[in-house]
């Protein structure tokens, strides 16, 4: 049985059931541009639905990509009212967390409180954990009903512009790891109950804490189920046509498979398409030859994936207008003969 797999993300954009789209890859390959482009295309395809683009990379770039300042709260993109962006700020989220913790323990002299404050700021992976907590919040917000405030938005799809590969894989490990942790904690809570009350200061606050943990565990389980459901979640790998990127992409795909996460699309950025240049540059020709070698390898390795080839333009892709023009190549494959003019036509914003 043979399929013609389109070298585009048309199937992804038109798939109505997706709730979570992760965009990830090695550093500097164009994740932010790709995630922004996917978000823009989704917003254009479904003008009556709301979409959210979240950056979980501590070195945020969304503001630069859209030429608009974003923060830890979702803000609408100027020029595309059904798309919002958010840059998770670990420090602000951490202080929110500490403020929430105070409702369980107001004692300023409690040694456990100061230990927790020191620990939570220095734990590796805390950025990913905070991003994940934002995900949990949105899981809750998905369940909007009539009694909720009209300001509560339920997003059709949430797109994640992730950090470079290692961070993202840690982030994706969190649901199943947290699920096991919380389950273990509940088993231990009976044994450690008296000691915990000694540290936490009382029966009622301890019960509140356990109730909160139960709620978190339920949400984490739900997230884990959603992440491993291919109808709800997919991961788009972004790479460039070079050895290191190819190897990293393959490793990432295999690791994502071990987490049971669906990967069916790969975007290859920064391609030169130098064959049809009128006045070919020697360097570009040489580099394009190198890129073609890896493209051929990718074509063999990823014949069951949507392999989308995106061009390297003459300028940075910034601003909503440029993103709209560039992002259409995710849907209609780039044709150097037809679309080659865009390389120099696109104006910097």
């Amino acid at each position: 049985m043979d399929f013609d797999l389109e070298p585009s993300l048309k199937d992804l954009i038109q798939q109505d059931t997706l709730k979570w789209i992760f965009v990830g890859g090695k550093g500097g390959v164009g994740k932010t541009t790709t995630s922004s482009s996917i978000a823009v295309q989704l917003a254009l395809q479904y003008p009556n639905d709301e979409f959210l683009l979240i950056s979980t990379d501590p070195a945020h770039n969304l503001s630069d990509a859209f030429c608009q300042k974003f923060g830890k709260d979702a803000r609408k993109v100027e020029g595309l009212s059904n798309l919002s962006c958010m840059e998770i700020d670990p420090e602000a989220a951490m202080s929110d967390l500490q403020q929430q913790a105070q409702q369980y323990n107001n004692d300023p002299n409690d040694p456990l409180k100061s230990i927790m404050n020191d620990m939570t700021g220095s734990i590796p992976g805390i950025d990913e954990a905070l991003s994940f907590m934002e995900v949990l919040k949105h899981i809750k917000n998905q369940k909007v009903d009539e009694s909720d405030s009209k300001n509560k938005i339920s997003y059709k799809t949430i797109i994640f512009d992730t950090a470079p590969t290692g961070h993202t894989l840690r982030f994706l490990q969190l649901p199943s790891t947290l699920q096991k942790l919380l389950g273990k904690f509940q088993q231990l809570s009976g044994k450690l109950g008296p000691m915990m009350s000694m540290l936490g200061g009382g029966g009622q606050s301890q019960q509140d804490m356990f109730a909160k943990l139960n709620e978190v565990e339920k949400n984490v389980t739900e997230v884990n189920e959603q992440y491993t459901n291919p109808d709800l979640t997919t991961f788009v790998c972004v790479c460039i046509s070079e050895f290191l990127s190819l190897y990293e992409t393959e490793r990432m795909i295999q690791e994502l498979m071990s987490y049971k996460m669906d990967v069916n699309s790969i975007v290859v950025n920064q391609l030169l398409f130098a064959d049809d240049d009128e006045n070919p540059c020697t360097r570009c020709v040489s580099r394009w030859k190198m890129q073609k070698k890896y493209l051929d390898q990718m074509a063999e390795l990823y014949e069951d994936y949507h392999l989308v080839k995106m061009p390297l333009l003459g300028t940075e892709i910034r601003g909503i207008d440029n993103l709209k023009r560039f992002s259409k190549f995710l849907i209609e494959p780039y044709d150097p003969k037809k679309d080659g003019g865009l390389i120099t036509e696109m104006k910097e914003q």
Binding site: M1, Q15, I123, T177, G203, E250
Partner: protein, 289 residues
């Protein structure tokens, strides 16, 4: 010629997923990585193992797998599994809780820093659970120390008893000698014959002052030598409350209050005892009169 079959997008996606999964099974994932390395790496590295193959050490080696770098675009129909049970492929390791913690928290261990606070925190819990059982000599020492503390408590009580009795007798005797017609009676008309110029209230003033001194001294000495704690450790009520606190943590609060009350009970006992002695002396006096 390749056959084109009209399928729904969902069916197409499902088949593609199964194909992708099949290509990663049985050591093929490792082969893919090594193939990429062999073609592109500038350094001759030893072969790597894919994460998908790491959990299955008994998986087949590459001997039966095609080593050619090119993958055929067409796949024979009999290689496609009809229904792929993914649960048998993707591992679900059961990991120890400490390993899970290390995975989350120690992704990139810094060699120059001390162990992270979370592991220290867990160590604290582990230490509490793994406290060593006391040696027999230690138990014997504790028992002997407890006996010694009890002996000290009784000794000081005895000493203070002597002092109290002496003080009351001296106070009583002094006023008996100095105040003429110092007598007591149950009859009010006899008591009315008491001399009006006598300073009767001096007795109770002196008694109160001496009591305050005795009680303060007793409290100071018991605190200094930990005799209150020794006495409380033998108290049955405190033992019951302490056992109950393991099941009802709220009782811990009351245990502290109860220990304090038992300490004050000793002091109150001194006052009541001395007052009782004074009452007995006046009773004897009235009987003799």
């Amino acid at each position: 010629m390749a056959e084109k079959v009209e399928l729904t997008p969902a069916e197409k996606q499902k088949i593609l997923r199964e194909r992708r999964q099949a290509k990663m099974n049985k050591g093929k994932a490792t082969d893919r990585l090594n193939n990429i390395l062999s073609q592109g790496s500038s350094v001759k590295t030893s072969s790597v193992t894919s994460i998908l193959d790491q959990e299955k050490p008994s998986s087949t080696t590459s001997s039966s797998i095609d080593q050619t770098p090119s993958y055929s675009a067409t796949i024979a129909a009999d290689e496609d599994p009809d229904h792929q049970d993914i649960s048998t492929i993707t591992p679900s390791p059961t990991e120890d809780i400490d390993t899970i913690f290390n995975k989350i928290l120690k992704q990139q261990q810094d060699e120059h820093t001390e162990s992270d606070p979370m592991s220290q925190f867990m160590k604290m819990f582990n230490d509490q659970q793994q406290q060593p059982t006391p040696q027999p000599q230690e138990t014997k020492y504790n028992q002997e120390y407890q006996l010694y503390q009890n002996y000290q408590s009784k000794l000081w009580k005895f000493r203070f008893l002597i002092i109290r009795i002496s003080a009351v007798l001296v106070n009583f005797g002094y006023h008996f000698m100095t105040i003429p017609k110092f007598h007591a009676s149950t009859y009010i008309n006899v008591r009315d014959y008491s001399p009006t110029d006598a300073n009767i209230s001096q007795f109770i003033t002196l008694f109160s002052a001496v009591e305050v001194v005795i009680i303060a001294s007793y409290y100071f000495i018991c605190q200094k030598y930990g005799l209150f704690h020794a006495a409380n450790s033998n108290n049955i009520i405190l033992k019951i409350v302490s056992q109950g606190a393991m099941f009802l943590p709220q009782l811990k609060r009351y245990e502290i209050i109860l220990a304090r009350v038992l300490g004050y009970y000793d002091l109150i006992g001194i006052i009541i005892g001395d007052l009782s002695f004074v009452v007995v002396l006046f009773g004897l006096l009235s009987y003799l009169n």
